[in-house]
Symmetry: C2
Subunit: 459 residues, 2 copies
């Protein structure tokens, strides 16, 4: 222990948050409303009930209550793997020779391997409470599907997972984990849904995308009695559930009088950074402090740094409401050599709004540099990071190296959202020197922006 801060700061189970923080209650302006895909009018509760559980819709639309109590059954589930530690990266600091102090909130100490379990437990609980038989969802890299499979096993719910086909092929182990927990897994696009068949006809041989898988999972939920659809990122209620990450991080760091200058999270759909920032963004929005927030996204899927601020579909087949997001277009399918997760075409409406209003900055990183940072981190700090989380590691190292040049002793907090145990094919590519980067050209992005929907009177 140096600086009086231990390597790992653990809270007691009593210190775990008893309520989620609803960031929208503190936002000066709300993000633009969801629009009904048929009418182009703002969505109301009733529009969403055929797809989502009732209480989750209520949370989605709640922009007034700052805190929403966490039901005791969910807290019991959380106690199996939470509170998660804040770790001081002493070894990494030493390796870099930086005067910066680096902390990371580690969300990978559970079998799903990531923070996704925080929302999976909540969504599954509300589905059970509503008397449903099961839920359906999509998964890309597999963390969300695994998390949901664990939650469904615990709460006694059925689970149908549409897994992006290329991920199912590259990660048979992830599929096996979900099946061990009792889930039914179908590679997407599949011929089990209209959406899947349509996509297969248009793009024969496609490896799929999160957008495709979402379309199939929603169709499954709508067509099967007693099912609803659940989503692992993007939506406001997911960001709400993930607030436990930031609430815990702040409680832990407060104990040692530590306040981060910079808070860094990887961003795909936005649930990880949305959760990590929670308590600190509350301070920023209410004028109590002014930390800097950095969203790090893959250069191959650059919604914040190169996307449009526009209404778009959440999926490929166009069955979700229109959401105003930073987006590169719902038709976007990342290159097959893209290994680092974070494949979603758009960004959470909450993060979109905060980014648009200047509360968050963003940067994009190519995957070779991401794996370089991941390997350095693993060798110093022990834990093998998820490729997704390694985007944040890369930015944290960049910031720490800036401090080395300037002599500043900044405090950096980043989210180690998960572990990379199921990503060894990608690590192997990196180890063998066969990993390549893909960065879309402006022309490719322009072409894709043409898939943005035309909404009369809106855009």
């Amino acid at each position: 222990m140096k600086d009086n801060v231990p390597y790992k700061i653990y809270l007691t189970e009593d210190e775990m948050p008893k309520a989620w923080y609803n960031i929208k209650a503190d936002m000066k302006e709300q993000h633009d409303p969801f629009l009904h895909p048929g009418t182009g009018k703002p969505c109301v509760r009733e529009d969403m009930l055929p797809i989502f559980c009732g209480e989750l819709v209520d949370q989605e639309l709640n922009d007034t209550d700052r805190f929403i109590p966490i039901p005791e059954d969910i807290r019991s589930f959380y106690r199996m793997y939470r509170p998660s530690p804040v770790v001081r990266a002493y070894c990494l600091e030493q390796k870099l020779g930086t005067p910066a102090k680096i902390y990371y909130k580690f969300e990978g100490s559970n079998t799903s391997g990531s923070h996704k379990l925080n929302s999976a437990a909540a969504q599954c609980y509300y589905a059970k409470k509503q008397g449903l038989k099961g839920v359906s969802t999509e998964t890309g890299a597999g963390q969300w599907g695994t998390a949901l499979a664990m939650a469904c096993a615990y709460f006694g719910m059925e689970l149908k997972v549409y897994m992006v086909k290329i991920s199912a092929e590259q990660k048979p182990a992830r599929r096996a984990v979900m099946e061990t927990y009792g889930a039914s897994v179908t590679p997407s696009p599949s011929d089990t849904t209209d959406a899947g068949r349509k996509i297969l006809a248009a793009h024969p041989g496609t490896g799929g995308s999160l957008g495709c898988a979402i379309s199939e999972a929603i169709e499954f939920a709508v067509k099967n009695e007693g099912y609803r659809y659940v989503l692992g990122s993007v939506l406001d209620h997911v960001v709400l559930h993930q607030s436990v990450i930031g609430l815990e991080a702040k409680t832990a760091l407060d104990k040692y009088g530590v306040y981060p200058d910079v808070i860094i999270g990887c961003a795909g759909g936005g649930s990880n950074l949305g959760g990590l920032m929670s308590a600190y963004m509350a301070d920023k929005l209410t004028g109590k402090a002014d930390p800097q927030f950095i969203a790090v996204e893959p250069a191959s899927c650059p919604s914040l740094t190169r996307g449009r601020y526009a209404y778009d579909f959440g999926d490929t087949a166009g069955v979700t409401p229109f959401m105003r997001m930073y987006t590169i277009g719902s038709g976007y399918i990342p290159a097959p050599n893209h290994a680092g997760g974070l494949r979603y075409h758009g960004m959470s409406p909450i993060l979109t709004k905060l980014y648009h209003d200047g509360y968050i900055s963003a940067r994009a990183v190519g995957q070779s540099k991401v794996f370089e940072a991941a390997t350095l981190f693993a060798r110093c700090e022990g834990t093998l990071p998820a490729p997704e989380s390694s985007h944040a590691i890369h930015a944290a190292i960049e910031e720490a190296m800036k401090c080395k040049q300037t002599g500043e002793t900044k405090t950096i907090l980043f989210g180690l959202s998960g572990t990379g145990y199921f990503d060894m094919t990608a690590y192997q590519q990196y180890n063998s020197g066969s990993m390549t980067d893909y960065i879309p050209t402006d022309a490719e992005l322009e072409e894709n922006f043409k898939t943005l929907p035309k909404i009369p009177g809106v855009q």
Copy 2:
């Protein structure tokens, strides 16, 4: 929280053990000495120095000091992933409807996925201190190799791993993890050593065994300047390092006034149970308490339950000293359908002696039942257990179900020595119903006992 015991009992970093417990200092009788393979005479320090690091040899031969201080550099390493929690299995208890109280010490919260890191850190540290360039070792399922790769990356040492060939084929991801940490990995048997070439000539197409891999790793160490060999189980100094498991477990449970009636660990070479039992076996040996100890081994590799109490080689090629162990013969190669780890033909001399003298009982379990217990545990408790650890889970459930019948409220502590993230091929076999059990016949074992060495004047 029920019973006033939280789900997870964490110690602070200050409460981590400052010394390892040397069980031999409390044993009424010592295990029989190692014998030199050439002379049949007891091994002395000098015999072992060409193979092992000096300080590890000293620890191996130390049967007088009850406690051996843990160097601060090792404690720093331990702080990256220790102390590890003792978890109350509330959900499993509820699922079983047992009045028993079930606790497990969870050693899988690190990237190596098991307790092996405790000894890897120590052995690597002493090799570094001795000024060596690198170490060589064998690995089966891969936990030990991964643990050592992590430790070598941290301490800046080279690492040569001979990985049991069938494991290398079944678990390419494990190999990739080791390589990510900078290790050089060779499937065994290989043509890079005399021992490997000899085994390949005698058994063309063999999938290898731990015994073969040990022979190759020792040969590599002896023939390469600046290298020594390190072993992840069996030896006394490994049991010494693993004592942190039991020391932490007792400190944690003492806080809540909990004393286990039954302590259960899986046993392959013996390092896991040897570590878990430490502080409690101290109580038993010194007459302070009388807990029951159960070693659980695979029915396909039953050294304690069906082996001979005899001097044997530690490896296949016969380059190690003779050790008196419960053994099924160093020529034994488990059936290829054996998925559950714990493949070693013999048992740690310390555990052998304690078992022989009646301090420990043993049982063997077939792998289908092991995976049944593993799946039940995963669905209740969240964590996906290693097949090895699931042997202990099976026995813990058996004991808890006995309590259900008798109404006894026993306290059970078992070792969840690792996670099963890299064992999904085996889980997949179990999920699909294609897993089969293999139990050697008496005749097969008899045949194998013929490989036990003849030692003039001894056996």
